[in-house]
Amino acid sequence: MKYFLFPLITGLILMAIINLTVDIGGTWHGPDYTFTANWDKDHYWVLPLRTEERSLRTKQIGFLPKIDTVGLGSSRFWNMDTTMFPPGTRFYNASVSGATVWDYIALWEKFKQDGNIPKNLIIYLDTWNFNKNTWLKYRWLPNAPLVFAFMHENASREMQATALLEWLTGSFYQAVDLINPTVLKPTSSPTKPTAPRACPPGNTTAAISTPTIRSSPKPCPKSPPSAATSASAP
């Protein structure tokens, strides 16, 4: 038996060390990008597929000018931007993929902490946001401190305990992922970046495109992305 267990356990430990070291999407080490300013309306940012986008969102919110309308939602809300609202609207699209109510709370809390509370909040509430059995459950973990801050101020002790339990459960699954070989599976060719769907038309709309490779902010092509040419104010 020990001749079987020893290589198995050694292999799993090795796999965990590799996953922890490589950590493509910053799952365990946090994102490795530095974010010191919001990007300009003429720029877009292409990110690797496994990028931990929730941290990126909250970092970006810290650099926003005063906003009056915020949109919360999942990938279904991604293509909403400033140009689609009445003129003069200072809109920020804070959607994250596979969003849950936990994400909405974290992002709302971030706006509060930054003193940038919007007058209007649009919540693109997916039908499955109230489904207990959806598999989109633990993506909010990177923003757990924001969730806990919100809960401390607004929630009952029972719900605070629930939040802690959810965090522990999610963290357990994240730890199990350390011995998941698919973490290292290439998701796309690193030499063939896909074009973003559209350049963000304003620096407050920041659409995160379906990404494949990481790069520094680069200018949008001059033609023909229509959204870029109709850019409005931040």
């Binding site: 991604w78 909040l121 509430l125 489904n131 919100f150 719900m159």
Partner: protein, 114 residues
């Protein structure tokens, strides 16, 4: 869609959290608009026809209506039916993601409602 909607059962924690969020938004003077986004026509037909999905929109609506009853700062725009906002079947990328033209129609419809 199956992955998200399968075995739909009310998540009491999510409802409570939404309640907290709407209350806190109200306390900070923020108006909230909840939009239920549309599905592509074929997906919407499936939701309406299949027994495992049929009741979901009604249950979702009941939750939102309950929240609205106690949050006067919140309004609701139900656009789950693509025809509501006038989105054609071709204005979708897949079963649940809209093209920009449809997104604009949803916003126009929901923002202009009384």
């Amino acid at each position: 869609m199956n992955a998200y909607m399968k075995d739909w059962e009310v998540d009491a924690n999510a409802v409570t959290l939404m309640n907290y969020l709407l209350t806190d938004a109200k306390n900070h003077g923020t108006k909230v608009l909840i939009i239920q986004p549309p599905f592509q026509q074929t997906a919407y037909n499936i939701i309406q026809e299949r027994p495992e999905f049929r009741d979901i929109p009604g249950r979702y609506n009941a939750i939102v209506q309950n929240l609205l009853a106690t949050h006067q700062n919140t309004t609701y725009c139900n656009a789950i039916d693509p025809a509501t906002a006038g989105c054609a079947p071709t204005e979708f990328i897949d079963s649940g993601h809209t093209q920009r033209s449809c997104s604009q129609k949803i916003l126009d419809y929901c923002l202009k409602r009384p």
